[in-house]
Structure formats: C-alpha cells, structure tokens
C-alpha cells in the first residue's frame, strides 16, 4: 500500500514538473518570437501574405456567424424586453452584448478553430517534412521566417475580425428587430448610440480582442513548432491548439471582464 501511494505521489510530481517545464519552454518560445520579429517588420510582405491566409480567409465564417448571432440576439432580446415594454432597447442589448462579450469571445473561438488550427497544422507539417530543418541548414532562422510572420498576422487580424463580427451582428439584430418584427427604427439606433460608450465599451472590447489574438496565435504557433514530426503528432497538436486556446480565451475573458466591467456605467 505505501508503495502505491509513493508511486501515486511520484506520478503527480512528474506531471507537475512536466507541465512547469512545458510552460517555461512555451514562455521562452514566446520571447524568442518577439526577439526575432525584426524580419517580419523589415519585410512586411511576409506578414501581409499570412494576413491573407489567417485574416481574409477567416472573413466568411466570421461574417456568417456574426450575422446569425446578431439575429438570435435580436429575437431573444425582443422576446425578453417586450415583457417589460422596453422593446425599443433591443438595439442597446444587441450592441452591448456584441461589443463587450460576444464579438471578442465568439470571434476568437472561431478564429482559433479556423486560423489557429491551420497555423498549427501548417507549421507541424513543415516540421514533419523537414522543411524547418532544411531552412535551418540554409542559415535561415525558422522562428524569424516562418513563425513570427504568422504570429503577427494573427495578432493584427484578430481585432479586425472581431470588429467585423460585431458590425455584422448589429446588422443582424437590426434585420430581425426592425425589419422583421417592426421595432421603431429611430429608437433602435438612438438608444444604441446613447448607451454604447466608446471608451468604456468599445475600447475595452478592442483590448479583449488584442489579448485573445496574442493568446490564440501564440498557442497555435507553439503547438505547431513543438509538434512531434509524425501524422499523429500533427493531428494531436492541432486538437490541442483548439482546446487550449478555447479554454484560454474563456478564462482570460473572465479575468478581463472582472477588471473592466464591475457594474459601473
């Protein structure tokens, strides 16, 4: 029995040490990306190329999802608010929900599954097919040439995608509440205009998207670079990217929200 307990404790110790080691390794990798970002800044064309793959190609899923989320918010908002005779506030509800929470969070979750997984799979496969090793042998640093441009492209595109999500979502809410249900057009927009504060709501939303952009892309490039160079290794890394970054987004969202919105207005 004591032997079993010892084995159990040893197992826990191993896990803790492994996790700590991996966290340290990931942090060091993140620092290396920042240190080696000079190439991305000097040759911005490399980042623009990645912006197309991570940003532009994610637009369609962001726009379609944003539209439906906005439409659902319009329906649900109207359904609840009309009980209190406050259906004209549906615009406020849709806009605040989107710019404060749903825009940053849902866009980041979609971004993690669409672009994050693609970044991990691409870097992982480059490693598995020895492309990264070939680059090293050509005296070209893969972190500077492959990882950093993808990282910055993700960080730059995330706020724009989230903004697009919110804008389309507000339009979706308008379609349902005003065009479909018949809420007054003027009060929909004017109440929204009065209630949404630029500094308090929109800037905080933008800060969230920037943080999520860094987190998701850092997880994606790290998992790709750290993947075992096999088919199972790359598929496992891709799954880890989606799972880890989704959890990180939700965790960070709670932390950020608790700092940003504390019932004041």
């Amino acid at each position: 029995m004591p032997r079993r307990i010892a084995i159990g404790i040893r197992g826990i110790g191993h896990r803790v040490i492994d996790s700590t080691w991996r966290l340290g390794y990931a942090s060091r990798f993140f620092l290396l990306i920042l240190l080696k970002s000079g190439t991305s800044l000097r040759r911005f064309g490399l980042v623009i190329r990645e912006l197309y793959f991570t940003g532009v190609l994610s637009l369609i899923i962001i726009i379609v999802s944003g539209l439906f989320v906005g439409m659902v918010l319009g329906l649900q908002g109207y359904e609840t608010l009309q009980r209190f005779g406050a259906e004209s506030a549906v615009g406020t509800m849709v806009a605040l929900s989107l710019v404060r929470e749903l825009g940053p969070v849902v866009a980041a979750l979609l971004f993690a599954s669409r672009a994050g997984s693609a970044i991990t799979a691409e870097i992982g496969l480059m490693k598995a097919t020895e492309q990264l090793a070939a680059m090293e042998m050509m005296a070209v640093d893969p972190i500077a040439r492959v990882v950093a441009p993808r990282f910055w492209a993700g960080v730059i595109s995330m706020p724009f995608l989230a903004a697009m999500f919110s804008v389309v979502g507000v339009f979706g809410g308008y379609l349902v509440a005003v065009v479909l249900i018949g809420v007054d057009d003027g009060s929909f927009w004017s109440q929204m205009q009065n209630a949404v504060d630029f500094r308090y709501d929109i800037v905080n939303g933008i800060i969230k998207t920037c943080v999520f952009g860094v987190a998701v892309t850092a997880v994606a490039v790290f998992e790709g670079y750290d993947a075992s160079p096999t088919a199972e290794g790359v598929s496992g890394a891709t799954t880890r990217t989606v799972v880890t970054s989704s959890l990180v987004i939700l965790g960070l969202d709670f932390v950020l929200t608790s700092f940003m919105f504390r019932g004041m207005s």
């Binding site: 020895e130 492309q131 090793a133 050509m138």
Partner: protein, 270 residues
Amino acid sequence: MASEILVEVKDLNFSYGERPLLRGINMTMHRGKVIAIMGGSGSGKTTLLRLIGGAIVPTSGHVKVAGKIVHKLKRDELFQLRRKMSMLFQFGALFTDLSVFDNVAFQIREHTDLPESMIRDLVLMKLQAVGLRGAHDLMPAQLSGGMARRVALARSIALDPLLIMYDEPFTGLDPISLTVIGNLIRRLTDALGMTSIVVTHDVQESLKIVDYVYFISDGVIAAHGTPDEVRESVAPFVHQFVHGEEDGPVTFHYPAKAYASDLKLETGLA
C-alpha cells in the same frame, strides 16, 4: 598534389542519453571528392551528417569544416558557415507553399540583395543544370519523387556551396531517376569543385560515383577505402553489405534465447 581538406572528423563520440551512437569516428574529406558513408539502418549515418552540419553537439571529439570547429561556433558564426554548406534531405524537403522557381530562389533572396532579374537568371541556370528549367513554375505537389529530389539539388547548389550533404538521396527512386541523381551528384561536384558527402545504403549506385567509402556499423567505422578496394574487400561486414547477404556479422535473427527452450522442447513437456 593532395587537395585541400574540407571536413575533418576527429575522435568523434556521440550519445543519446546513456546510449552511445557513434564511437571514435575519424574521417578526412578532401575538396572536389564524393564521399559515401554507408551502413545499415540506425547505424548513426544521419546523426553523423547532423553533427557535421552543427545541428547537434558531439559528446567528445570534434568536426572541423573549412578549418572551423563546428560545435564551438556561436549561432551567427554557424549560420555564416552554413551559407557555405548545403543539405539534400531524404525526400527533398521542398517548401510546399512555394513554386519550384521560388524554392530555388529562396536562399538567394534570403542571403543576398541581388536584383530580381539576376536572381531569375541564376535560378534558371541552376534548374538547367538539373534538367528542370521547363518546370520552374510548377508547385512541389506536381512533381514526381525524382523531380522533387532534382529541384532540391538545384536549391542546394543555389549559392555555390563548398560542401553538400545528401541524406539517402536514392531512396524510393526508379532506376532512371536513380542514375540521373547519381550522375548529377558526380557532375555537379566536379563542375563546382565542392565536396559531396552521400549517406546511403544503395551500394551499387553509389560505388559507381564516389571516390571514397566509409562503412559504419554499430557506431564505429567498420571499414573504409576506394570503391575498388571495397568491392574486393574480404572483411566480413563489408562483404555482407556490398553483396547484400542475408546472414553474416549482421545477423538475420534478433537476439533471443535458444529456439528449443522458447518452444519448451528440451524439457520434454511439449
């Protein structure tokens, strides 16, 4: 007159953890020569290439390339040295998101400020040397295995290196592609005056093109010599390897306890 020594491996030892992989390796490689390193799978051939390229650090001993001890160089110095060496990976390792042209131009664009018109001429010349000038706008996915290997070869000579290392260049090729790659290695080495190190277990093809052969077995150099010496060698390992015999110093059976005892025959219980 003896030619200049480009690569010198001295008393090299390398271990993965506790397990020794290479022991007491000594080699000398001259400029303008094609040298083959042969040995069975897992004998440490590719590890030796990685040690020469500075990707890993030896446990003891050293590798000198162009007079510099590779593992003692700082990262910047190592990258400077790597501009003079190249490596052809087993399956080419072409960048799949770049065209054939951009793959060959990659290193030139990364390391020089040449105008695009000159890069175009250089790339087409390199592709002409491997017979694939007409394929310059194809993507790697559109190439056969042999063609991909030739593009990778063109890419590895893009900056006219002093040394090219080939990791199993003949694996998985049809007989025509095999001869083409073999002849290209010889011709390019002679034309550019560089040194080629070919890690392979394709005995017949490599003996046709190389100047010198090292055999590695169990982490040590089991034999070395010119192709003629190797063909006539009576050393048991070399003889078995060159003639592809099933049994010899490298046994057919994985070590196990006695067959009869495994089948429980000697106890009379079976």
